[in-house]
Symmetry: C2
Subunit: 349 residues, 2 copies
DNA sequence: TTGTAGGCGTTATCAG
DNA sequence: CTGATAACGCCTACAA
């Protein structure tokens, strides 16, 4: 009744074969005669051996089957965003065939907790950085020094690091053009966060925005409406959009006839605010979103929005990782969004 | 310019010390003289050595610093629920001091993908099973055979496995009592999924429900309103609640004056449906939720609901894991929800 | 088809 | 405070 777990050597001994043979029975890398296989399996059963210890295997093979996903501080915050969720789904799906799972890690610089796991200390085969803005970039040297493949989604990590990007500016421009073609001239923009602090409020016309997504989408809208005022939110949520909408619709004389929101959740909030202000959507105000994700509770509205291939983004990141682990050159990918017309936009009155 | 990464042995050689000494410099387990430490650090720098290889360390130490979280099929689906997100946050927080991170794994039986990582093949120190209903229970023998500590959240895994549970029935009963005390008699219940398939519709009065949460909360409500009709939803979302609400409010003559929803998201949907049917909340219909999570876009309503300690649930699971890894006896915990009165309930007209 | 031998990179133990 | 030694459990040339 020893406490030690059985090892493959034990199994081999009981089965009366050599360790390598027993190993092969489990890995299937080499043909084994049926009788030996059976003996080994039986021995394993009798010992309660459930297969090779992954820890030992990963040392030997140099692979741990784990891909790190570096997220911001709070999982809760991150997964509020449907786009992130779909992204993770795509990623999980794409790395599964590699025998890899996703390890959630926080950013290295948020170490309030003693000896928390980090990119440096975790046994990982690769890392995915999401939204590589500033602070995330600090993680890079670490993984690079360890020689771990990295891929960046929605962000720029510099030379030689594959990126999975979106045509944010182009796509947003297309939506803006559509809005203009509908005859709208008084247009307001509701943006995602403009900085890490999540400063809420009107964005100065000449402000430099450090957050890639926000900047790019804003530029796209400004390509068509150069003077449109832009209001920055703290995050991507209905509540944030609602608060922004309240401000936009506060003054009946200056209120916009169309609002370009940088996410579907924000757009949903803006719509709520419009209703709240006694405005009908789309008759009195047109609203566009971005993302093309199902917004829980938005029915019967169907947003006019840009459908981004969120799951594909994850899959592309997974594919890049697979390539790198294979020793192949990873590709940076630039995905494109599709403009979809819903029932939240109409001709300017 | 060899491609091999430097090992601690290389560092030791360059520093002119023994490998064990070099190791100790990194682990800090034993005092080292400043001069040697410096020499080792310098050697490491010059070789680009970033610290012990986690794979080797985990073999040696028998710890990988990874805790598996077994989720249903889709991350997207799972993380829609704010309760799950908070739970994960608490869990991450609680295992971080152990130097552990969270590995997302799918259920073993959903293996459509060849060689996907599983509870059997991943190097994990412990596992958390969330919502241990039926199919999840299949994972148990596997981990137990491997001698891996397991804790179950919101579900029953049988003997000897620590559980983190909630006072679902008691809590729901308290809410129901409150509703009754307000004078409501025609009450309907909107429930979470009643089976894995997510069958939508009225629940037969004598139906046996296999999903623990749903059953327990339903019993709590029925303790007070034994004959209240219950309508089952497919999931916990505003849209699901809306659909249910539509049915409840379809016939003005039989419509309930109060609805007990089994989650806040469902309650939000029911409220929408009520508005949609021209009913005012709470004047015409009272609605209660369950969970006490912020529902994006629900303002200005503040739900009358049961606030469950979602993050604490995660932390408790983490604590149980910490205990087991420490060789201590883990505790099963029974957390309690707090009844909170919002503005979605009022006296029966 | 099976066995032998060596090493993957660490770290705990124990002796100096 | 430092160093030698021995595992940790497995996999894979290579030889038989």
């Amino acid at each position: 009744m020893t406490n030690r777990r059985a090892t493959i050597a034990d199994v081999a001994r009981v089965a009366g074969v050599s360790p390598s043979t027993a190993s092969v029975v489990f890995s299937g890398k080499t043909p084994v005669s049926d009788t030996t296989r059976l003996r080994v399996i039986e021995a394993a059963d009798s010992l309660g051996y459930t297969g090779p210890d992954p820890r030992a295997a990963s040392l030997r093979l140099g692979r741990s089957g784990i891909v790190a996903v570096v997220v911001g501080s709070s999982l809760n915050f991150m997964f509020v965003d449907p786009v992130q969720r779909l992204l993770m789904d795509g990623l999980a799906e794409a790395v599964a065939p590699l025998g890899a799972g996703l390890l959630l890690l926080r950013r290295d610089d948020e170490l309030d907790i003693e000896n928390a796991p980090t990119l440096t200390t975790a046994s990982i085969d690769a890392a995915v950085l999401i939204g590589c803005d500033g602070s995330l970039r600090a993680s890079l040297p670490i993984v690079q020094a360890r020689g771990i493949p990295v891929v960046v989604v929605e962000g720029d990590a510099g030379e030689g690091i594959p990126r999975i990007a979106l045509d944010n500016r182009d796509a947003q421009r297309r939506a803006a053009q559509y809005v203009r073609d509908l005859g709208h001239a008084r247009v307001a923009i509701v943006t995602l966060w403009q900085d890490a602090a999540g400063t809420v409020g009107w964005i100065a016309p000449d402000a430099e925005i450090a957050v890639d997504v926000t900047r790019d989408r804003l530029q796209g809208a400004r390509d068509v409406f150069p003077d449109a005022p832009a209001f920055a939110c703290a995050g991507s949520s209905i509540d944030d959009g609602f608060a922004a909408g309240r401000v936009l619709f506060a003054d009946p004389r200056t209120r916009p006839t169309a609002v370009i929101a940088q996410s579907d959740l924000l757009a949903a909030g803006v719509i709520r605010a419009a209703e709240d202000a006694g405005l009908r959507v789309p008759q009195d105000v047109s609203v566009t979103g971005f993302d093309g994700v199902p917004v829980d509770g938005l029915a019967p509205y169907e947003l006019t929005t840009l459908v981004q291939p969120a799951t594909a983004k994850g899959r592309a990141a997974g594919a890049a990782i697979a390539a790198m682990l294979d020793g192949r050159e990873p590709e940076s990918v630039n995905l494109t969004s599709t403009f979809r017309i819903g029932n939240t936009t109409s001709r300017a009155g």
